[in-house]
C-alpha cells in the first residue's frame, strides 16, 4: 500500500500541466526520432540531452524518458511503411510488418504495433512500480565490494550475452574504462592521461561527448553509407474499422502480449541484452507457439505484436537497474544516468530516500508517457508518412548541426567539439570492423564508480583481494560474472562437439 501512496504522490508531480506538456513534446519527438531510419532512442537522447538544461531535473528526465518511450513506438513505423527498421529494436517488426503493408494492411499493422506497444509498456510499468522499491532497499546494503562486483557483472553480460566477438567486446569495455580515468585521479587528485598536455583533458572525457560522437556523427556516417538504395514509403489507410479490428486481434492475442511483456521486461534489465534481443526472442516464441507458424514472415499480425510488446517492455526494464542500482540496463539508460549525474543527482538506492519526488515522478510519468504515446502515435500517422518522405540529406544537415552545438553547450569548450568529431569518425570505423559500441559508452559511464569502489574496497582491507569473494552478495555477483565470461567458451566447445557428432554419427 505504501507503494500506491508514493505513486500517487509521483502523479502529483508528473501530472502538473508543465510535465504533461513535457511528456507530449518528448513522446512526439521520440516518435519522429524512432521513425527515422538510422536514428533510435539512444541517438535521440544523446542529441537532445544538452538541450535539457532549460528545465528542472525532474522535467528533464521525464522528457528524456518520454523520448525513449516514443522512439520505441516510432521504430515500428518505418519498419512497416518503409521496410527498414527505424532502430535495431524494431528489426523483428519488419519480418511481418512489411509483408502486411505490401498486402494493403499497413494501417492494421501500425495499429497492432501501437496497441501492442501500449500493452507491453503498461505491463512493464506495473512490474517496475512494484519491483523498484524492494530492489532499492536491497541495494542499500551494498558496500564498495558489492558495487564493484555488480559493475563487473554488468560488463561480463556483454561478453556472455552480447553475441559479438568476445575479444572485440573486451577491448571496447577496457577502452571505455581507461577513457573514464582521463582527468584528475579521484583519490590523490593528481592529473593523469592528459594527452598532448591539452588542458581540456583535465576535466576528463564527458560521456555526452562520446555519446554524441558515436551515436550522432558516427551513426549519420554509418547511415549515409548504408542508404545506397532508395526506399518506397507505403501509404497506410486508417479507418475506425481498422482500429476496431486492431482491438479485436489484441483480445485474441493476449497470451502473446503477456509473454512478450514479461520476457521483454526481464531481458531489458540485462545490460548486454535489451530491447533488440528481447523483441527477437518474443518473435521466436510467438512463432513457435502459434497454431499457424508457417504464416509468420508472410504478414501475421502476431509477428508484429510480439516484438513490439517486448521492445517497449524492455525499455522500461532497462530503467529499473539504472534507477535502483545505478547500473544502466541499456546505452540509452546509460545516457539518462549520465544526465542525472550532470544535473547533480546520484542514481542508485539513496535516490529513493533523498529524492522521492524525483523517483516517483519519473515512474508515474511512464504511465502518462505510455498513454500519450499510443494516442499520439495513432493520431499522427499521416504526419509520419510525410516525415518519412523527407530527404535524408535534410535530416543529416540538421543532426550534424545539433551535434556540434549540443556538444559545445554543456562545457562551452571547442576541445569537446573536436573530440565529438574524433569519436564520431573513430566510432564509425570501429563499428565497420564489428567492434560493439554500447559497451564502450557504458564503460565510460560506469568507469568512475568501478574504480572508486575497487580502490575503496582494497584500501579498507589493506589490499586483501579476498573481500570480493568473502562477502556473500559480492561473491554471488562474481560467480555469475565468471559464468558469463565462460559462456562464450562453453558455447564454442558445445558447438564443436555437436559438429564432431554430426560428422561422425557412428561414434
Amino acid at each position: 500500500m505504501e507503494i500506491i501512496g508514493l505513486l500517487a504522490e509521483g502523479f502529483a508531480t508528473s501530472l502538473s500541466w508543465f510535465n504533461i506538456f513535457v511528456v507530449v513534446i518528448g513522446v512526439t519527438a521520440g516518435l519522429f526520432i524512432g521513425a527515422m531510419p538510422g536514428l533510435g532512442s539512444v541517438n535521440g537522447v544523446a542529441i537532445v540531452l544538452p538541450l535539457t538544461f532549460i528545465v528542472p531535473p525532474a522535467s528533464a528526465i521525464i522528457l528524456l524518458a518520454a523520448i525513449y518511450y516514443g522512439a520505441m513506438y516510432g521504430g515500428a513505423i518505418s519498419s512497416i511503411l518503409l521496410g527498414i527498421p527505424g532502430a535495431s529494436t524494431a528489426v523483428a517488426t519488419t519480418f511481418d510488418g512489411r509483408p502486411m503493408a505490401q498486402k494493403g494492411q499497413a494501417g492494421l499493422a501500425l495499429i497492432a504495433a501501437a496497441v501492442a506497444s501500449f500493452v507491453g509498456g503498461t505491463i512493464s510499468v506495473i512490474l517496475f512500480t512494484f519491483l523498484a522499491a524492494p530492489l532499492a532497499d536491497l541495494a542499500l546494503s551494498f558496500g564498495p565490494a558489492e558495487e564493484f562486483a555488480l559493475v563487473l557483472l554488468a560488463f561480463t553480460t556483454f561478453l556472455g550475452l552480447g553475441g559479438d566477438d568476445p575479444y572485440k567486446t573486451l577491448a571496447m569495455i577496457l577502452l571505455g574504462l581507461v577513457l573514464s580515468t582521463v582527468g584528475l585521479d579521484l583519490i590523490s587528485g593528481q592529473p593523469r592521461l592528459i594527452f598532448f598536455d591539452q588542458p581540456g583533458f583535465y576535466s576528463g572525457i564527458s560521456f555526452l561527448v562520446l555519446a554524441i560522437g558515436v551515436y550522432g556523427i558516427g551513426e549519420i556516417l554509418w547511415t549515409i553509407e548504408q542508404s545506397k538504395d532508395g526506399q518506397t514509403v507505403t501509404t497506410p489507410k486508417i479507418s475506425f474499422g481498422e482500429i476496431w479490428a486492431g482491438f479485436k486481434i489484441l483480445l485474441r492475442s493476449w497470451k502473446t502480449l503477456v509473454a512478450g511483456s514479461s520476457l521483454g521486461f526481464f531481458v531489458g534489465m540485462l545490460p548486454a541484452a535489451g530491447a533488440t534481443p528481447a523483441s527477437l526472442m518474443a518473435y521466436g516464441i510467438a512463432k513457435s507457439t502459434s497454431k499457424e507458424p508457417d504464416s509468420f514472415g508472410k504478414g501475421n499480425v502476431e509477428g508484429v505484436m510480439a516484438p513490439e510488446t517486448a521492445n517497449n517492455a524492455a525499455s522500461t526494464g532497462s530503467l529499473l537497474p539504472m534507477l535502483t542500482l545505478g547500473i544502466p540496463g541499456s546505452p540509452t539508460t546509460a545516457l539518462l544516468l549520465g544526465g542525472m549525474v550532470m544535473w547533480g543527482l546520484v542514481p542508485g538506492p539513496m535516490l529513493f530516500i533523498e529524492q522521492p519526488d524525483f523517483v516517483w515522478g519519473l515512474i508515474s510519468s511512464l504511465y502518462t508517457a505510455n498513454t500519450a504515446a499510443v494516442l499520439i502515435n495513432i493520431a499522427l500517422i499521416p504526419l509520419f508518412v510525410w516525415a518519412l518522405r523527407m530527404p535524408f540529406s535534410v535530416l543529416t544537415a540538421i543532426v550534424i548541426v545539433l551535434c556540434i552545438v549540443g556538444g559545445f553547450a554543456p562545457s562551452q569548450k571547442m576541445h569537446d567539439v573536436w573530440l565529438i568529431a574524433g569519436f564520431g569518425i573513430g566510432g564509425y570505423l570501429l563499428r565497420k570492423a564489428d567492434y560493439p559500441l554500447a559497451p564502450l559508452v557504458l564503460a565510460l559511464v560506469l568507469g568512475p564508480l568501478m574504480e572508486k569502489s575497487f580502490r575503496q574496497a582494497l584500501i579498507a582491507t589493506q589490499g586483501d583481494m579476498t573481500i570480493f569473494v568473502t562477502r556473500p552478495m559480492s561473491a554471488l555477483f562474481i560467480a555469475i560474472a565468471v559464468f558469463f565470461v565462460a559462456l562464450p567458451i562453453i558455447s564454442k566447445l558445445t558447438r564443436k562437439s555437436a559438429e564432431r557428432s554430426a560428422l561422425n554419427p557412428a561414434e
Binding site: 574504462l177 556516417l221 553509407e225 567539439v417 575497487f454
Partner: protein, 160 residues
Amino acid sequence: MVKAETLIAGALMIFSVYLMWHATVLPIWWVPEAGPGGGAFPFWLSLGMLIAASVSFIRSFSTGSDAPFFEPETRKLVAITAGLVLATIGLMMWAGAYVALPLFMIIYLRWMGGHGWLLISLLTVGTTVFMFFFFEVALKILLPKGITEPLFIPLYALFF
C-alpha cells in the same frame, strides 16, 4: 594488401601501449597507506586492452571476407561528410558558429542534397535563429563567435 580489420586492431594495440605509457606518470603498484596507485587502474586495463586487441589482430589474418571494407558506391559521400564536419569545426573556431554552421548547411544541402534555394534558405535561417534564441537568449550559453564577435554586440544589448 593489409586488411582494414588488421589496421584497426593494430591501431588499438598502439593506442593501448600509448595509454600504458601515459598511465605510468602515476604509481601503478600498491602505495603504502593509499591503496592502488593513481596509474594502476588505467595501466592494467590498458594492458588488458592490448592483449584483447592483439588476439583480434592475429585472428584478422585468418578470418574476414574479401568484401571491400567501405561500400564502393557511398564511400565518397561518407568521406565528404566527415571532411565537411571537420572543416566546419575548424572554421567555427575562427569565424564563429553563426558563419560556419549556416555555411555547412548551405554547402551540404546544395551540394550533397541538390535542394532548391528556397528550402535551403528556410532551413538555414530557421536553424540559425533557433540556435541564437535557444542557446544564447534562453540558456545564456554563448556560442563561439570568432572574428564576428563585434557584430553581436548590438544583439547582446537588445536581449541581455
